[in-house]
């Protein structure tokens, strides 16, 4: 069996072959979409939309509307379209369709996260879509047991504490940044590629200070060498300082929110994957999520 990896966005995760990669993301926690492409023609697409707590979703209606939309598009392309719907077990509908491509999928309502999720694996007519679908669709999960949300993009696999939602993200070739926010607390996960090239003529400390100079400007901070299971790293601890930062904190207090004054973070080089990882938490005094977040990050 080939090597496999996780892809996860907004708490929805799927296990796919390692050579597959995330090619599109959109939306937010309530409604969104992601797409994972294989090297061939197979494509995994997952779409979710939230429903109000306690509301009943018409799953059959939603699935019929989705298939009707595909039928209309196929008609425009003058392609034939066939579809089937089956009820697998309580609350899960399985479907398949065939046109100029073919697909197998599932649609279900999750009572825990109040989302209707539709996951579909499609491919060209010559591909074994059914076999791949049975292997991959069964791995799609929409929430974790402990409330921590899994985010897995391009080999950055992390879990984020409950209550933190994605504020911004940057998915660039060689650099990934995910910024989460919970009230005034922020959690920043970063991953740089090509560590051996980036750190060729410089130390990790100098390189990081150069990279993070702008983000660290509001803080008075200290950097100390640290070791993570044999990986070289740095520990960053700081506190907001300066009149402007105190004014910002006063504004937060006026809005009846505790200001996030403290900064804690870790930066380390993963020699095995040739990457530099950074986890930073800008938090209120009693928020201590950093160490547990760090434990739940997989760098290799």
């Amino acid at each position: 069996m080939s090597e496999r990896t996780w892809v996860g966005w907004q708490g929805i995760v799927a296990e796919v072959p390692a050579e597959w990669s995330l090619s599109a993301v959109s939306g937010d926690e309530k409604s969104g979409y992601f797409r994972v492409d294989s090297a061939g023609s197979l494509v995994l697409e997952v779409k979710w939309s939230g429903i109000g707590k306690g509301k009943v979703a018409d799953l059959h209606g939603r699935l019929r509307a989705y298939l009707d939309d595909l039928r209309r598009r196929a008609r425009k392309r003058r392609a034939a379209f066939e579809s089937k719907i089956k009820t697998k077990d309580a609350g899960v509908l399985t479907f398949s369709w065939r046109s100029d491509r073919k697909a197998h999928g599932r649609l279900w309502l999750c009572d825990t996260c109040s989302r209707v999720v539709i996951a579909q694996l499609s491919g060209s007519l010559s591909e074994d879509v059914s076999g791949a679908a049975s292997r991959i669709l069964s791995t799609v999960e929409d929430h974790s047991q402990d409330g921590w949300r899994t985010w897995a993009v391009y080999d950055l696999i992390a879990e984020v504490p409950p209550g933190y939602s994605l504020e911004k993200h940057r998915l660039m070739s060689g650099y990934i940044q995910l910024v989460f926010r919970k009230k005034s607390n922020r959690l920043i996960l970063e991953r740089w590629g090509l560590a051996n090239v980036a750190l060729k003529n410089t130390s990790l400390r100098d390189w990081f200070l150069d990279r993070a100079a702008h983000d660290l400007k509001p803080f008075t901070f200290e950097i100390a060498d640290a070791d993570f299971d044999g990986e070289k790293g740095l520990q960053v601890n700081g506190r907001r300082s300066g009149p402007i930062e105190y004014l910002k904190a006063a504004r937060e207090l006026l809005a009846l929110r505790k200001p996030a004054m403290w900064l804690d973070g870790y930066v380390w080089i993963c020699e095995e994957t040739n990457r530099v990882y950074s986890v930073q938490s800008v938090h209120v005094r009693d928020e201590t999520i950093l160490d547990e977040t760090l434990e739940r990050i997989e760098c290799h």
Binding site: Y154, G174, G193, L194, V197
Partner: protein
């Protein structure tokens, strides 16, 4: 007519026709270094390219007017130098992506995006060309 078009498009790049390739065709294309260029490995392992100026009448006149040197030099960075050396006309874009992925431990998607953008930039500057499979003669 095509000779006129080629001459005009040499000076007006926006008139140049771009070939429509599928992703598979693009991955199978074999980048080849422009034979007019001279290149060498400099200290530190980076590649330095020497690009001769055009020799047509307009270019010669402009060179004389602005006292431009006969060659333009470009030094590629470490990753760029590695990719440049792989552009030998024998390896496909796919093979170059695979080699770069392995060397720098990048994910396939990240590597493909970066290498494709880099090769496109080299191609746009006419530092490399792309050999495609060619059509079968009828």
């Amino acid at each position: 007519m095509s000779a006129v078009y080629n001459t005009v498009s040499q000076y007006l790049p926006f008139l140049r026709k771009k070939p429509n390739l599928t992703r598979d065709q693009a991955l199978r294309a074999r980048p080849t270094r422009n034979p007019v260029l001279e290149w060498e490995r400099v200290e530190g392992g980076d590649v330095r390219l020497r690009i001769p100026r055009r020799k047509d009448a307009i270019a010669r006149a402009l060179c004389r007017m602005f006292r431009a040197p006969d060659y333009k030099e470009i030094v590629l960075d470490e990753v760029g130098s590695g990719i440049w050396e792989l552009c030998d006309g024998g390896r496909s874009v796919d093979a170059i992506v695979a080699a770069t992925c392995g060397k720098y431990k990048l994910t396939r998607r990240e590597c493909e995006t970066s290498v494709a953008a880099y090769l496109k930039m080299l191609g746009d500057r006419r530092l490399i060309g792309f050999q495609t499979g060619g059509r079968k003669k009828k």
